[in-house]
């Protein structure tokens, strides 16, 4: 089997195991390329039937408008259910506290809203688009990753995963994070998007916009970014290689307007995908620490 067929078959198998083993699963949808790929795989797993789960978007309120537009278009096309958890609501309720200062981001607050949403709807499994090649703590992640009732990941108490057999047995209150594209690399995702002709938000392709220099990287000049006289703002041709919210995702210089250009760009890149993520640069174990708190 070709490698993309193999990865696809494995992911479909995992999605169907979720459907078969859990009562009330959900698919975490961020509007990024990995979760869009998951939706495409879910179509292959369950069509002509309905998805056995809703899409859940944890909305920081700081998303790229293009992402939200795309999300609503996709949900309409699919005819599936979308649940939105608002970080603003967690802030209003006093459960999450907005960061201050120039580098303030709502990225860490997402965890609060995610855990609240899981509890509110009683989800026992949440499917996510994390990949093991992204980050070294994620390289240790299981396909079925059990979280305790506080949403915490304990890397030392992970269940061994043998062959393709997935143990989804949990106690009440616990939930499982499921990662069907664990074995995909960034390049695999792009090659698959190309092969399957999957639509993406426009920000993945080169476009012109105002960007502001922060910690050596160019961020989109968003209205909720504190920009003052000391900041350098330029109008550049850029694209986004990874899409989180606007406060933690930096752009890359690019003239890639087609999928082929993007694939060539990634092959030639000497920096990893998460190199453009401010949230990972906090410390060496930044991802591991966030995952222990309940981040996906």
């Amino acid at each position: 089997m070709d490698y993309l067929d193999h990865l696809e078959a494995e992911a479909i198998y995992i999605l169907r195991e979720v459907a078969g083993q859990f009562e009330n699963p959900a698919l975490l949808f961020s509007g990024g390329k990995d979760s869009i790929t998951l939706v495409h795989l879910a179509k292959k797993a369950f069509r002509p039937g309905k998805f056995p789960f809703p899409l859940v978007h944890i909305d920081t309120g700081h998303n790229f408008p293009e992402t939200i537009e795309f999300r609503d278009w996709l949900v309409e096309q699919l005819g599936e259910k979308l649940i939105v958890g608002l970080v603003q609501e967690s802030i209003d309720q006093g459960k999450a506290v907005e960061q201050r200062g120039k580098n303030a981001s709502r990225n860490p607050l997402q965890t609060v809203t995610l855990l609240d949403t899981i509890e509110k709807y009683g989800f026992d499994a949440c499917i996510g688009g994390a990949r093991r090649d992204e980050e070294k703590a994620r390289a240790k992640e299981r396909i079925f990753s059990v979280r305790d009732e506080f949403g915490q990941w304990d890397p030392k108490r992970q269940r061994p995963e043998l062959w393709s057999i997935l143990n989804g047995k949990i106690h009440k209150g616990e939930n499982v994070r499921v990662f069907p594209i664990s074995n995909w690399t960034e390049l695999d995702v792009w090659n698959y998007i190309k092969r399957e002709n999957i639509a993406l938000p426009s920000i993945y392709f080169s476009h012109e916009r105002d960007v502001v220099l922060r910690n050596g990287q160019w961020m989109a000049a968003a209205p909720f970014l504190q920009i003052d006289g000391e900041d350098i703002v330029e109008h550049k041709s850029v694209r986004f290689r990874t899409v989180g919210d606007m406060t933690c995702t930096a752009s890359v210089d690019s003239v890639a307007t087609e999928l082929d250009d993007i694939i060539e760009e990634i092959k030639a890149s000497t920096v990893s995908e998460r190199g453009a993520r401010m949230d990972d640069k906090v410390s060496e174990a930044a991802m591991e620490e966030r995952k222990k708190q309940g981040y996906f």
Binding site: D5, A19, D133, A139, P155, K156, W163, T270
Partner: protein, 414 residues
Amino acid sequence: MNILKFITAGSVDDGKSTLIGRLLYDTNSILDDQLEAIKKANRKNNDGTVDLAILTDGLKAEREQGITIDVAYKYFQTEKRKFIIADAPGHIQYTRNMITGASNSELIIILIDARKGVIEQTKRHSFLAKLLSLKKVLVCVNKMDMVGFDPFVYEKIKSDYMILANRLGLENVDFIPVSALKGDNIVSRSERISWYDGASLLDYLETISIEDKKTQPWRFPVQWIVRPQTEDLHDYRGYAGRVLGDGLTTGDEVVVLPSGVRSTVKSIELAEQSLDQAQHGQSVIVHLTDDIDISRGDILVAASCPPLAERNFQANICWFDNKPLDKDQVYLLQNHTTVTKVKVADVLYKFDVNTQDKQYDADISLNDIAKVELKAAGEVVFDLNREFPENSQGILIDPRTNLTVGALMIEDVA
């Protein structure tokens, strides 16, 4: 382009991390920001070179202790193949992690230090390779630079290893003399080992065939029933699952197990396109000509060559839990999509994982490997490990903790 999944077993001393680091580094799979992170962490080997183990040791606890505890999966790709490396610890106290990594691999690289030859750890890893029915064993005789690239050292290790391989019944063994630290025979053939006329490690990994020569009768464990229940698809009822074995074809006669009801394959679908035949490993939807009661956990099989369906059987079991195996306790056996209550009726013997000698000791605790007899609450559908490994495998779950406490491979009917 296809995928090769392999495991590297060994400890830091054998140069396992150096070997993986070398493969990643020399295939340009390590990017600048990742290298920068390594330099920032400022971990150096004794000889002052950058310690590449930090790439694979993903957890804080591992970096602090300088050891690999858990399995990490690493990815790289060349023009010819995509590779998935299961990087597993080699020490005996982490046997369960190595078994986990090996279960997801097709090939194992066994590292032998040229100065030390075949040691206890080599025997243990080779035994596990046999136990888990890995398709290929590649022995890398490492640190050849430390023995002056001496062909006689290499030949001696080769013949020592073949004695072990024959004793274990390991087939498909290959050898490469390398120096991971200096890069000899890793990406390209080394001039310093001119007496060796085989492939370099990377060449070998890129070209080695892991296709099964023997074809297996197909089995189709049902994961999910697709029923749209819409007006235009009112009678649509598809069985979704992943194919094991070869030759699942439209028109095939089918037996549904455990019920024993017979039918015929009406059609096969992949992403709403119809297929005449489904291959091993494909995730498809199968339709049958008859309307029969089938649910998750049932398995469709080729009527021409059905598997076994038994309540009592013997299996090799690897124990993963801190709590020892309890013969009075009910466990859950999960094989493919089926879950069955089982008890361990008898411990036949335990293996000494270093010498492979049988020990008549009934206590099974963490990392132990034993042959046991199981008694199930209902018929379990399986093939024997020596005939069709993928349909002989299962995990044991402790229903009190929900933990995966063991892995098993069914060897015989009782």
